[in-house]
């Protein structure tokens, strides 16, 4: 690309940015520019209702504009825009603190994986439903006993001619009790080597033989479930990718999940308190400096870490545009989720006993949320492959160290 072409592109992007800014200014309701709470997140689905009229208006406008997923192809209802344009929209939304109009595993994970591995009929059938919020998806990878060793999964799907017969159970099935469908990794060849006999199936939660129970966490929440499959018949058209080749779909999906988790810090739903601001509220200052040296030191370490992670996010984007490969994307899940945990610990330390309230009087909303988020932060370094698994992956795929 010549320098002139590049500057043209930059000019086009700046023009696009102004248009996005104007459109958002005109179309994003004021109430949708506040920090969001979990109850206000819209996940869509057959039985869904909007948390408010403004949330509905905001969702419909973004849907009609094609900006729910601006980079998805327009023939399936996406925006058909470039990654640079998608990034501009993201940045401009962030600048006015606009909420995401739709949440869920459909737009985060299944959609991208299906665009890569699905056949034409599957894309036609599912992508638009995801973008229109009419179908809510859950994910089914882990099993009781399999943990991060995903390839050891046992939930099986037998070929019965017209359909697959599924038996087994899945755990950590996020929001399975509220979802319409679930995408699952199942064992289709019990005799093949671990990764080679796995397939990727789409299953309707209304099918006979499926039951689901929530799992209560130390945070008091239960967004995860365990799901049981008892002689569930799944039509063959619901196989995504090739039979016994589901591992490649799963890997691509995990990349999306890890990327998402590494970015959580930048737009987590309860992002009300940040350590730097909390310090001003809860700590003593002397000559403009936090007088508690230990906390000041921990705060600056956290801020530097987030600064470095933020720059690395930006670098991975720039490298993608420039077609440069580096190891940066592969370290982000580890670094991002560890930093989230660091943040939660830091916030508790800054708030002191005010950060330890479980419920009720004597604590404000932000304080109670901080504690719940702290308890949730432990899941971050476990879900989507533990931090230790991430380090194994770096050792294997980046450093190419010998496998024992």
């Amino acid at each position: 690309m010549s320098a002139a072409e590049r500057s043209n592109n930059v000019q086009d992007l700046e023009q696009f940015r102004l248009e996005v800014r104007d459109w958002l200014q005109d179309n994003c309701p004021e109430s949708q520019r506040q920090p969001i709470t979990p109850e206000e997140q819209y996940y869509g689905g057959r039985d869904s209702s909007f948390p408010s009229d403004d949330a509905r208006i905001w969702f419909e406008r973004m849907r009609d504009k094609g900006w729910i997923c601006p980079e998805w192809p327009s023939e399936y209802g996406g925006g058909g825009l470039s990654p640079q344009q998608g990034k501009v929209i993201k940045e401009e939304m962030k600048a006015i603190r606009a909420r995401a109009p739709l949440y869920g595993h459909g737009i985060w994970m299944l959609g991208p994986a299906m665009l890569e591995f699905g056949n034409e009929a599957q894309k036609q059938e599912h992508i638009r439903d995801i973008l229109n919020g009419t179908i809510r998806w859950a994910q089914g990878y882990s099993e009781p006993g399999s943990g991060s060793d995903l390839a050891s999964l046992q939930c099986k799907a037998e070929d019965k001619g017209d359909y697959y017969l599924v038996n087994g159970s899945k755990t950590w099935t996020t929001s399975a009790d509220k979802a319409d469908r679930i995408f699952c990794l199942v064992r289709t060849d019990p005799d093949a080597k671990k990764q080679e006999g796995i397939s990727f199936l789409l299953i309707d939660m209304d099918d006979p033989g499926i039951s689901t129970t929530p799992i209560e966490l130390i945070s008091g929440e239960s967004e995860f479930c365990q799901t049981f499959f008892d002689d569930v018949k799944v039509p063959k058209k619901n196989l995504v990718g090739e039979l016994n080749k589901g591992w490649s779909v799963a890997k691509a999906l995990l990349v999306h999940e890890r990327k998402l988790m590494s970015e959580l810090g930048s737009d987590s739903p309860r992002e009300i308190v940040v350590p730097n601001q909390a310090a001003r509220q809860y700590l003593d200052f002397e000559d403009g400096k936090i007088s508690d040296h230990e906390l000041r030191s921990k705060l600056v370490e956290y801020d530097m870490e987030m600064h470095a992670i933020g720059l690395t996010h930006f670098r991975t984007f720039e490298e993608k545009i420039a077609g440069v490969r580096s190891a940066a994307p592969l370290i982000m899940k580890y670094a991002g989720t560890e930093a989230e945990k660091q943040k939660s610990e830091l916030l508790l330390a800054i708030m002191g006993s005010q950060g330890l309230g479980w419920e009720g009087e004597g604590f404000n909303r932000a304080e109670l949320d901080t504690l719940r988020l702290w308890a949730m932060s432990y899941a971050m370094t476990i879900a989507g492959g533990t931090s230790e698994v991430q380090l194994n992956l770096i050792a294997k795929n980046v450093l190419e160290l010998p496998q024992g």
């Binding site: 730097n276 310090a279 001003r280 200052f285 403009g288 400096k289 936090i290 000041r296 030191s297 705060l299 600056v300 370490e301 801020d303 530097m304 870490e305 600064h307 470095a308 992670i309 720059l311 690395t312 930006f314 670098r315 720039e318 490298e319 420039a322 440069v324 580096s326 190891a327 940066a328 370290i331 580890y334 670094a335 230790e388 991430q390 380090l391 194994n392 770096i394 050792a395 980046v398 450093l399 190419e400 160290l401 010998p402 496998q403 024992g404």
Partner: protein
């Protein structure tokens, strides 16, 4: 923001690596150490570097410079870090040249910068007066006389101070104690009457010197920047130095890390390659994450020098603090993972370890930069 090198910069990187690997490998530093070299660097090598344009890499074309910017310089510093190549690149072409560029009068720029670019003149910064980096704690005095100034005081840890042609000396022309106000910068020829240079032998086999100034007279043209406002020059100069040094530390860390990973794939113990042990894999993978984060920080800090100097103080402190920690982590792990051979003088890892410790102190350790970063963030 520019976080990816362009083609020109990548080409520079290839050329620099090739040149340094063949002309100034780590064995060259070892030879300088063992032969107790007078200057502490190989002058013939420095002349070759200046012919390649390295001494003028950051200078504008009007002063005979290559105008390659700080990202270009960063590439050179990083490659020099990989081979531990000793040269006046940092002291003279980065710190000295930046001081003249930022604070010099037009006539100072016109006479000094082309000479630096051509390798005919080297500078060194006399700043520190204690064993820690305290850039505003200056007791060295500059008293005004009829047609100039008289300088009295003592400087320590002056990098390349015993070989530089001219010393850039931070003095106090008014006030006292630890404050930026009243600091003035002067150029003093190293051979001037009253200047006593004592070379020190440091752990990294590079040059530093203790220098005393005993009634040293300079004329008023020796002043760089405005009288009493030297801090306006000194602070951005130090930040540029910090960023350049961080790039060198990136090279040290990368080289040490790559050598160590290669060793993990080669060394057998207990009947297995030690790189197959999960305990070591996790430590190596953790270093990889830190290297990636450091890479982004370095690129952003280097590009801010030219693109957004208002962000330089924050980014320079971020870069120096993070790279100090990184280079400490990686050099320590490199020695440990090499086992017994890691503590021998024969293995080059030890030379990286020692250079890392010196680089960590230059222009501020981690504590200094954490404090500065926090202060800039308002807490």
């Amino acid at each position: 923001m520019t976080l990816v090198l362009n083609e020109e910069q990548r080409l520079l990187q290839d050329t620099a690596r090739e040149f340094l690997q063949s002309s100034a490998p780590v064995t060259a530093l070892r030879a300088l150490r063992d032969n107790k070299s007078e200057t502490g660097y190989d002058n013939a090598l420095w002349q070759q570097m200046t012919e390649l344009g390295w001494a003028s890499i950051i200078l504008p074309e009007q002063y005979g410079g290559l105008d390659f910017g700080f990202l270009g310089l960063g590439v050179l510093m990083e490659e020099a870090g990989r081979t531990l190549s000793a040269s006046p690149l940092f002291a003279s072409a980065v710190v000295g040249a930046s001081a003249i560029l930022i604070g010099g009068s037009e006539s100072q720029k016109e006479t000094l910068l082309p000479a630096i670019a051509a390798g005919e003149l080297t500078l060194a910064l006399g700043l520190e007066e204690s064993s820690r980096h305290k850039p505003t704690l200056i007791a060295t005095t500059a008293e005004a006389r009829e047609d100039g100034f008289v300088i009295n005081g003592r400087k320590t840890f002056v990098l390349d101070g015993h070989s530089a042609d001219q010393l850039l000396v931070a003095t106090r022309s008014e006030g006292e104690g630890n404050t930026p106000k009243g600091i003035s910068l002067f150029l003093v020829p190293r051979q001037a009457e009253g200047v006593t240079v004592q070379r020190t032998i440091m752990a990294d086999s590079r040059n530093a010197a203790n220098i005393s100034f005993d009634n040293v007279s300079v004329d008023r043209h020796a002043l760089v920047g405005d009288l009493g406002y030297g801090w306006h020059v000194l602070e951005p100069v130090l930040d540029r130095g910090r960023v350049a040094l961080a790039a060198e530390m990136m090279g040290i860390a990368l080289e040490c890390f790559e050598r160590t990973v290669a060793y993990l794939k080669y060394r057998e113990q207990f009947g297995a390659l030690i790189g197959s042990f999960q305990a070591l894999q996790h430590r190596a993978a953790y270093m990889q994450t830190q290297l990636e984060l450091a890479r982004s920080v370095i690129l952003q800090a280097l590009s801010s020098v030219d693109e957004s100097p208002e962000q330089l103080p924050l980014l320079a402190s971020l870069a120096k603090a993070r790279l100090n920690d990184l280079v400490q982590l990686v050099t320590n792990e490199a020695v440990q993972m090499h086992g017994g051979i890691g503590v021998t003088d024969e293995l080059e890892i030890g030379l990286f370890l020692k250079r890392a410790r010196v680089a960590m102190q230059i222009f501020g350790d981690t504590g200094f930069h954490k404090d500065r970063y926090a202060t800039l963030c308002g807490y």
